[in-house]
């Protein structure tokens, strides 16, 4: 009798319960790009999570082995598709290093200017996504509006907003259009206005801060352990920026600060990116002032296509054109690891050449691969609502992640 009574008086804690298994993605509004997170949740609390990547694998590295060096550039556009120019220039730098040449000074400045524009578009997209995932659709559209202005100038230079294919080994595909400086300065002014709008809308907003401060924390030690670079690592206090510490192009001639965070949470990542946008604008303005005149390509006929009129009129140029088209640029045998600061961190290209016009092996070190693999650690123990801003603020770009 007493047994039965105690059974009827059993409280909810004695009932059998199990955690719920949820598939977040691959088709889920917050999983921009395609990635799947499988979660074990207890109510809203995330007990454990597992990340599954590879849905956007296109075989970039293998494809690159069957392409001539110049042909690889369009593929690099599709790595980090939010800042394609940075990938373009990173790859060009790697091949140039292997060739032992240096691009002309004007080209280097143009690469810095356009690269920083791309960095701004990258950071705007990431911060915009964080804001949108917190329900702030208005600031997101403000960020996209600012990005659109910059895409317009990129389109004017390269002919495309996204699939730019602008860089070449030893130079660029074409020079800057007329009035580039004036137009860019006007656009930067508008972008600064937009940034001010965004700043007043969200940065000190109570709800926004509550959602981000102390969420998705990763410590400096963990950042080094996981190999995280870029804004995510800098937000954790890891003071490392390749542009400053291992200068390439003409970054050593330019004056800029590297913003560092303290807590390594979502809010710090948001602020670091916001400040990097300001620093990029500063860099662009300096580079525009210093921009020299001169050729945009090296003069070595074994690397650079001759002028079109020469191809039609001289036998040497026609032969050079033929050899470059059929055989490609003959890169001396050897290997190189070249790394640049892309939107998400250290973008490395490891190239092995066997002396032919085709790379023997190309390996990409995509920055967000390292950021993303630390994600489960950052979201475990939080709630479902915390996953989205954390995932947004590490800025996973599937094209780069899966290659």
């Amino acid at each position: 009798m007493s047994d039965e009574n105690s059974r009827t008086l059993m409280d909810a804690g004695d009932l059998e319960s199990s955690s719920m298994h949820i598939n977040l993605g691959p088709s889920h509004p917050a999983m921009h790009g395609v990635v799947r997170i499988t979660l074990d949740v207890d109510g809203e609390k995330v007990l454990s999570s597992e990340l599954e990547i590879g849905y956007l694998h296109r075989g970039f590295e293998k494809s690159a082995e069957n392409k001539r060096y110049t042909q690889i550039f369009p593929y690099t556009d599709r790595l980090n598709y939010v800042s394609p120019l940075l990938n373009n220039f990173g790859f060009a730098l790697a091949v140039e290093k292997l060739l032992g040449i240096e691009a002309p000074r004007r080209t280097q400045f143009i690469r810095v200017i356009l690269g920083e524009i791309s960095r701004i578009t990258d950071h705007l997209t990431c911060n915009g996504a964080v804001m949108m995932e917190l329900g702030g659709f208005t600031p997101f559209l403000y960020a996209i509006k600012a990005r659109e202005r910059l895409y317009k100038i990129i389109e004017k230079v390269t002919g495309a907003r996204l699939t730019v294919n602008y860089s070449r080994v030893g130079g660029l595909r074409g020079d800057l259009p007329e009035n580039f400086r004036e137009e860019l300065l006007a656009i930067l002014k508008e972008v600064e206005e937009d940034l001010k709008d965004i700043d007043t809308l969200v940065t000190r907003n109570r709800i926004f801060m509550d959602r981000l401060v102390g969420i998705g924390v990763i410590t400096k030690a963990d950042c080094i352990k996981w190999g995280i670079t870029g804004p995510v690592a800098r937000a954790s206090g890891f003071d490392y920026d390749i542009r400053r510490d291992h200068p390439y192009f003409v970054y050593d001639e330019l004056d800029f600060d590297v913003p560092i965070g303290v807590n390594g949470d979502n809010y710090d990542r948001f602020l670091v990116r916001a400040e990097e946008i300001n620093q990029s604008i500063k860099i662009i303005k300096q580079a525009l002032d210093l921009l020299p005149n001169g050729p945009i390509q090296v003069s070595d006929p074994r690397i650079v296509m001759p002028d079109k009129t020469k191809i039609y009129n001289t036998i040497e140029s026609m032969t050079a054109n033929f050899k470059l088209t059929i055989d490609g640029i003959k890169v001396p045998a050897g290997e190189i690891y070249s790394f640049t600061e892309a939107g998400n961190g250290e973008l490395g290209f490891y190239i092995v050449s066997d002396g032919t016009g085709y790379p023997y092996r190309v390996r990409v070190r995509p920055p967000c691969f390292f950021n993303t693999q630390a994600l489960p650690n950052m979201i475990n123990g939080g709630t479902i609502g915390d996953i989205v801003p954390t995932f947004g603020s590490i800025n996973m770009i599937a094209g780069e992640l899966d290659r």
């Binding site: 949108m132 995932e133 917190l134 329900g135 702030g136 208005t138 969200v202 959602r211 996953i387």
Partner: protein
């Protein structure tokens, strides 16, 4: 008796028609307004002339035709019913979420006394002593619709959305009642028409009863804190941003209505706007003097500071008051929509914390302070 029935039917048709139309218009206003805030063009494709591309040839009526286009689209979409899960409850849930709210309209006084064809009536469908309690009771029933929708869909995201909605709405039910307690204490009644009358009364000697000699005794002036708390609590109750966690699209796909399509989903969406209208009506009634026009009394205008009086026809006054009520409702509803496009979304547990740990103590403090002041006066 026949007169009463006819009047009741007319009033029901009028207020229901107004609410439905306004809720429909608000769907377009919401889109249009957000597009203006966000520097977009907004809805402009639906038109009567059939020319999609030439802007000058289009009759677009400010995009209002999208209301029709959306409705037609919703109705003609495939009426999908789920294979697994409880199909009956799944179908019934949107009805349960939509209709109980409309009952609240019956207690809202949308005008004073009007006389038409030598027959006089108060522009309020039903007058209960329990008054506003009926509004609370029926708005809680909507919780069942949401919960059942989430549960019967057999989808984990829907379930989470349903659970979120349940805890959120039940928590804010308590808060909502307590924020309004000060109003009931001041006007000494729960009946809405009596509250409206209390907000613009004449003194015993026939002179207007005003604060500082010029402010009408509206709830917004007597209970400013309660007004803020009520707006927060009511926004949470209508599940609109920044309290829209039950359907947080970036977290739960579409929350409790993930598995809904066609007009069933349309009813959930439309219910949200109907709730906005009803919220605005209650807000107007309790805080903005209901149908009252400042300084307009039963006999006409009596201006403060002895600026004189204007006497008017009582029937005309009745219609002016009705128009005023609708206008106030419209403005409040518009203001309510702006909130959505300015603020980011709370997290689920932060909403509950806000409700229980911040709004509730403040509402209780408001009650205490109101009681002390009332006992002193």
């Amino acid at each position: 008796m026949v007169e009463l029935i006819i009047w009741t039917i007319v009033k029901i048709l009028f207020i229901l028609g107004f609410t439905m139309t306004l809720a429909g218009v608000l769907t377009v206003v919401d889109r249009r307004e957000s597009s203006m805030i966000q520097d977009r063009i907004g809805p402009n494709r639906a038109n009567l002339s059939g020319d999609v591309w030439d802007l000058s040839k289009r009759w677009r009526f400010l995009g209002l035709l999208h209301l029709l286009a959306d409705g037609i689209k919703m109705i003609f979409k495939e009426d999908y019913s789920i294979k697994s899960g409880n199909r009956w409850i799944h179908t019934f849930a949107p009805v349960l979420a939509f209709f109980p709210g409309l009952v609240i309209l019956s207690i809202i006084p949308f005008g004073g006394n009007v006389t038409l064809f030598e027959s006089s009536t108060n522009l309020q469908i039903a007058s209960f002593n329990s008054g506003i309690l009926l509004a609370f009771a029926f708005s809680s029933i909507a919780v069942y619709g949401i919960t059942l929708a989430g549960w019967s869909s057999n989808n984990k995201f829907s379930l989470l959305g349903g659970v979120r909605a349940t805890s959120q709405m039940i928590s804010y039910e308590v808060v909502l009642g307590l924020t309004l307690m000060g109003i009931f204490m001041i006007y000494g009644t729960l009946e809405l028409n009596a509250i409206v009358q209390g907000q613009q009364a004449l003194k015993a000697d026939g002179t207007p009863d005003l604060i500082f000699g010029f402010l009408p005794k509206w709830g917004i002036f007597l209970q400013p804190l309660a007004m803020l708390l009520y707006v927060a609590a009511a926004t949470a109750e209508t599940k609109r941003a920044p309290f829209d966690v039950p359907e947080a699209e970036s977290e739960l796909v579409s929350g409790f209505f993930t598995e809904y399509g066609s007009m069933k989903m349309g009813m959930f969406l439309f219910a949200e706007y109907a709730e906005v209208v009803i919220f605005s009506m209650i807000f107007t009634t309790l805080f903005l003097g209901g149908y009252h026009v400042p300084y307009l009394y039963d006999s006409g205008f009596i201006f403060p500071f002895n600026w004189g009086t204007v006497s008017m026809n009582p029937t005309l006054i009745g219609f002016i008051q009705m128009f005023m009520f609708l206008l106030k409702t419209l403005i409040v509803a518009w203001g309510h929509l702006v909130i959505r496009w300015t603020l980011p979304r709370f997290r689920y547990d932060q909403i509950l914390k806000l409700g229980w740990k911040m709004i509730l103590p403040l509402a209780l403090a408001n009650i205490v302070v109101t009681a002390i002041i009332l006992s002193i006066i």
